[in-house]
Amino acid sequence: MSSFWRDNLPKLGQMFASIAIFLAVLSVIFFIAGKANGKKQRPIAIFVFLGPALLLLLFGLLGPAVRTLLLSFKGSASHSWVGFSNYTWLFTDESERIVLRNTVFWILFTPIVTTGLGLLLAVLLDRMRRESIAKSLIFMPMAISFVGASITWAFVYKYANPNQPQVGLMSSVARHLGFEPTNWLLTQPLNTFLLMVIFIWSQTGFAMVILSAAIKNVPTDVVEASALDGATGWRLFRGITFPMVRSTFIVVLATMVVATLKLFDIVRAATGGNFGTSVLANEMYSETFIRYDAGRGAAMAIVLFVLVLPVLFYNIFNLSRERTIA
């Protein structure tokens, strides 16, 4: 016991000390900078408030992004320039083609299913009795890490040989329905879709909560007026509810596209990217840190970024429009 605390107590001490130092340094800077007056006051305030964030972003995101772009044109050990060969390899290699195919599958299906299901639930839940209990149950998986989710779902997808008892829910259900289950996670391309189910399970709650808030913001008088005009059910939804939440729907959809592209943990924890389930973000990690080919890894990161660019342009377009209206 004592050796345990000898190892672990200093870590907690380090944490509290770091937080205390951080806050103390900030207070001192605030105190000193607050003394300034006259013309210097504004520039000093801007420097103190914005400086730390800009410095961290420069070294944490902007600089590294530029360096990754350069690395993607270099060889495995980053010594020599190799032109576009990392990119041509990525788009011509036989096994990488499966990775790209899977990534496309993920982008095509998961964001729209997750957001659509979230919208359906948000609409159905609205003004239901015990709404918050149902919401909490559906939202709960969002708090579970993708690693935890993959382990959780192992008890759904687990498979045992025909002469043994099936302890996986899906295998057991299949056997009760009268056909012999297969090893789900080894069956291509079914396994990729089974991993998508884990993502959808995890993220639908988030989409639902945001869309539900948007639906509650639709003014009641608008809904009531169109109801008086005889709009019901599907027409009410298509004519009033959906147009009013469309912008939120698209924001959630865009968030899901980005989350899907960055997805790494589910594949890593469930199959390790084996059996034809790998995606770009996972392969990028393997190239860089397992096969030590920084050039190829960087090229994959750049391709990921290019895939996200349309979402970025769309978001900026929307943001600037919103700001000019407001």
Binding site: D7, N8, K11, M15, F22, G34, Q41, R42, A45, I46, F49, L50, P52, A53, L54, L56, F59, P64, R67, T68, V123, L125, M128, R129, L137, M140, I144, S145, V147, A149, S150, I151, F155, Q166, V167, L169, W201, G205, V209, I210, A213, N217, T220, V223, G233, W234, F237, T248, K262, R268, A269, A281, Y285, T288, F289, A301, V308, L312, N315, L319
Partner: protein, 313 residues
């Protein structure tokens, strides 16, 4: 309409598109079916973590509810401070690591982001809008893009030719080496969300304080910080869940240093090495889930309010 029925407001549901679409009863049934289906996987994990090892491989977890046979042995095993299936001290050190990593990695970015958001919203200068758009755009940059160069910065520094721009910081494999990347990666979203909230604070309040001669630092501490609590709480949930559940950043920046590995990473590793120890894996996973769930449910009421300020009209 009499006051009495207004107070009960039972008839509102009649004008709801979704509930009419399916009929009120079918809507309710559909929701509850989905809610139950959504809960089944977690229930399976929870049930398995209380079953003896022999039972887990003998039959499915649902048998626990037919023939109840509980044990707390799995939990006492993973929390024992003697060696558990190859791990000295059980999982407790990793739980501590997770807290030590997560708490500062939430406090640092929120503080820095609130400062930046206040500046961009209320201390405007030429080009401040461009800076805001730039930060907004950085949200989309996949962190995969930044991992290797950032790791190089920590180990060897930044050099242009033979000229050293930044010396090696030597913080890889230390807690600081995880706090810093998490802080960096959190800033774009944090600044964007907090800016939405802070810029919607009443203008009169800020102007009154300026007339009184309060400096920006006083305004920030006395007015902006207390009023921004809902947005700060909402982002706290987000950042806590993200850091606690993160695999990629920790995997990259701990560099396999045993002493600082967070629980989630250990779990990912154990899924391989403990492949046959489902009783330990499930109970450890449940512990990992418990903390973010507690954080979420305690701050839940701020979540939507803080997140959507100024964005949903």
């Amino acid at each position: 309409m009499s006051l009495l029925t207004r107070n009960k407001a039972p008839k509102l549901a009649d004008h709801n598109a979704g509930r009419q679409l399916f009929g009120s009863r079918w809507a309710t049934i559909t929701v509850w079916i989905i809610a139950v289906v959504w809960t089944i996987p977690s229930l399976g994990l929870f049930a398995t973590s209380f079953r003896p090892k022999a039972d887990i491989s003998a039959n499915g977890w649902w048998n626990l509810f037919v023939h109840p046979h509980f044990t707390m042995g799995n939990y006492s095993a993973i929390f024992s401070t003697s060696t558990v299936s190859g791990i000295p001290n059980g999982i407790l050190p990793y739980v501590i690591n997770s807290f030590v990593i997560t708490i500062p990695a939430v406090i640092f970015p929120i503080t820095i982001a609130t400062m930046a958001a206040y500046c961009l919203a209320w201390v405007k200068f030429r080009g401040s809008d461009a800076v805001f758009y730039g930060i907004f755009a950085l949200q989309i940059v996949p962190i995969q893009l930044a991992l290797v160069p950032l790791l190089n910065l920590f180990t060897t520094g930044v050099h242009i030719g033979h000229y050293t721009l930044v010396p090696g910081l030597h913080i890889a494999g230390k807690f600081l080496g995880i706090w810093v990347p998490h802080t960096m990666f959190a800033l774009p979203l944090a600044i964007y969300l907090l800016h939405n909230f802070i810029s919607s604070l009443p203008r009169e309040l800020m102007e009154a304080a300026n007339v009184d001669g309060a400096s920006h630092f006083v305004v920030f501490r006395r007015i902006v910080l207390p009023l921004s609590i809902p947005a700060i709480a909402a982002f706290t949930i987000f950042q806590f869940l993200w850091v606690w559940n993160d695999l990629l950043v920790a995997l990259t920046f701990t560099g396999g240093t045993e002493g600082i590995d967070p629980l989630n990473n250990k779990l990912a590793g154990l899924a391989g090495t403990w492949g046959s120890h489902w009783e330990l894996l499930t109970s450890s996973t449940f512990i990992t889930i418990l903390v973010p769930l507690a954080v979420f449910f305690s701050l839940q009421r701020y979540f939507v309010r803080g997140l959507l300020a100024g964005s949903v009209k």
